[in-house]
């Protein structure tokens, strides 16, 4: 039982590290970007530009946040 619990915990930890990593902003921005893409696409509006824009803006934000975290 303890072995199963530790496996489940390890599995959860792995996916948390994989998705959230050391900056949760990235996962949230990508999820929001995909939601906007789906919404625009459903409304038959060209939506291919949303994710590249999200990547560029999130990259800048995340670089600044990592700099701030290393200073503190």
């Amino acid at each position: 039982m303890r072995r199963v619990a530790s496996w489940v915990l390890g599995f959860g930890r792995f996916w948390y590290g994989f998705i959230i990593g050391d900056d949760w902003i990235v996962a949230v921005a990508v999820a929001a970007g995909l939601a906007v893409t789906a919404w625009l696409n459903a409304a038959r509006v060209a939506a291919w530009w949303v994710i590249p824009l999200v990547v560029i803006v999130t990259l800048r934000l995340s670089v600044q946040r990592s700099k701030r975290n290393t200073k503190h």
């Binding site: 990235v26 996962a27 995909l34 893409t37 291919w48 990592s66």
Partner: protein, 248 residues
């Protein structure tokens, strides 16, 4: 006979495009995280792919690939963006020349006893998605032309040729400084993820598959801009520190 050559050429070229994406991910992850878990992940991807092809056969084209593209694309994008940021920060801080100093600390190479699940998952997903796309190309072109055998040969040959080219390039790739490699792999994962995830939602890219090259160019430009901004900021900081010291 006449129908065989076009089917061979079409399946070879279309499969080669997918195989390049697959091999790029496997080599990039292997060189950055270590080869053992990456190759186990890639092998597991091939096994699952073989099982899917064996079960579905020609009915493979009925498998919905959209949700798979969305999930795998989103995960690659999230993970790739984190490596993209780390690569930008490290290259901006140390430049290309100084990166190999302390490479083991930079590298994120797995040093534990067991499997590096990050490398495993990245390689597994890359092989499974791209392998499925190759299988779709082979089945759809082969079945519609009534030349399934020729299509299988074309797809298989593309995989072998691109795989061999990738294996030949491994020696060159492992010589690239690790933090720079992390930046490159981060950009590539972001590029593929940015393309697949919206495609999985039904979005059409202008220019089709060639949009991948456009995305790559945009992200390389974004990396260069961020590195330049960070370097200028660090340079200004140094000037301020030295000016502050001079006035004291």
């Amino acid at each position: 006979m006449n129908a065989i050559a076009p089917v061979l050429i079409i399946t070879f070229l279309a499969s080669a495009v997918e195989a390049i994406e697959m091999v790029t991910i496997v080599i990039g992850v292997g060189a950055t995280r270590g080869w053992r878990s990456t190759l186990i992940g890639a092998s597991a991807g091939f096994l699952v792919l073989a099982a899917i092809v064996a079960v579905f056969g020609v009915a493979l084209s009925a498998v919905p690939i959209g949700p798979l593209r969305l999930v795998i694309g989103a995960l690659l994008l999230i993970f790739g963006l984190q490596w993209f940021r780390k690569g930008v920060v490290r290259v901006a801080a140390r430049g290309l020349a100084g990166i190999q100093v302390g490479a083991t600390r930079d590298a994120e190479i797995w040093t534990g006893d067991g499997i590096d699940w990050t490398a495993f998952v990245l390689a597994f997903k890359g092989v499974l998605l791209e392998g499925l796309e190759i299988a779709f190309v082979v089945v759809s072109v082969g079945a519609s032309a009534g030349q399934l055998g020729a299509a299988v040969i074309g797809g298989g040959a593309a995989l072998v040729v691109v795989g061999a080219l990738g294996a030949a390039l491994v020696r060159v790739v492992v010589r690239i400084p690790r933090s720079f490699l992390q930046l490159v792999v981060g950009i590539l994962l972001c590029t593929f993820g940015s393309f697949w995830a919206p495609e999985g939602l039904g979005v059409s890219w202008p220019g089709g598959d060639t949009a991948i090259l456009g995305l790559l160019a945009v992200y390389v430009l974004a990396a260069a801009t961020n590195i330049a901004i960070e370097r200028r900021g660090a340079h200004r900081g140094k000037i301020n520190v030295s000016l502050g010291g001079a006035t004291r």
